[in-house]
Symmetry: C2
Subunit: 148 residues, 2 copies
DNA sequence: CTCCCACCTGGAGTGCACTCCAGGTCAAAC
DNA sequence: GTTTGACCTGGAGTGCACTCCAGGTGGGAG
């Protein structure tokens, strides 16, 4: 229904105008309409394709793979391949989130260490450097002081 | 307690030897011991610091900020700053995960579309191109064929 | 008519985080 | 005694994904 200038599209899609041009150049966007004076005119379909691209990029899919996906998307009868590609990616995203959570919990644990160092600090604060992680647990702090 | 060669440290930490050298060069690692012939000898404390670095990098903290953190970690009495830095990062990680989940659900939705296209396909398979996202919903498919 | 602004193009430049390389050292294996 | 392999250094090179730039066009405002 709608048609959108490059600036509007950039705003709506979250990609910069330069990125939109770049995506068109490398083939992630094809069949973008032009008006009489050669300017790009984006459609609602372009917008939703861009939204999809944003999800893929935002979840860490490399450009090369997005390119493969968009090539598939241009060819009828490739639904199985597209499905497979997205499913594989979805699994990677799942792993990515799991790893993130794991690493985040390590960080939260460290935050807890610092938190109790601050509250219990008045009494306990010596020159502690940082007590590199397990250092705070296994008592190697003295040898550690000065690095963190 | 233990002491580790660069190769062992690379294996245990998950950073390449080159990255370890690089990290030492830019100041993320300081006070790494050397043996008589000038080779690096990593300690358990170094390992756990590396583990921390891995969590920070792995959750998307830029090198520059890790550098700031490691500088703080060398100075006693900076626990409050370190705490603040990690908390701010933790919030970003939370947002990152939320965004990832949101984008993932969009991808899963698309997977669902493809899934039902495949199962219900025998009857319904026309030249559909891709049905760019909402295209599959709002009926613009015909106009969309050939892009995806 | 002139100015400005949003846009166009091809191509060069950027930032980040490594990664690789050439040339050299040392200790242990053969 | 020489070969091997893991390591050292400074510095150059890489890959990715943009981002910027110079020079140019077309349409509407003043």
């Amino acid at each position: 229904m709608g048609s959108y200038s490059p600036a509007e599209t950039a705003e709506k899609s979250g990609f910069s105008i330069d990125t939109l041009r770049y995506y068109e150049k490398i083939g992630l966007l094809s069949g973008i309409a032009r008006n009489a004076s050669g300017r790009r005119v984006f459609s609602d379909d372009d917008l939703s394709w861009l939204e999809m691209l944003r999800c893929l990029r935002g979840t860490g899919m490399p450009i090369a793979e997005m390119l493969r996906y968009s090539e598939l998307a241009r060819v009828p009868g490739t639904v199985a391949e597209r499905l497979e590609l997205l499913q594989a990616h979805d699994r990677r995203v799942e792993e990515q989130i799991a790893l993130l959570r794991e690493q985040q919990s390590r960080i939260k644990w460290k935050i807890g260490i610092y938190g109790s160092a601050l509250t219990g600090a008045c009494a306990a604060q010596r020159d502690e450097g940082d007590l590199a992680a397990t250092g705070a647990v296994n008592g190697t702090a003295a040898a550690t002081a000065g690095r963190g």
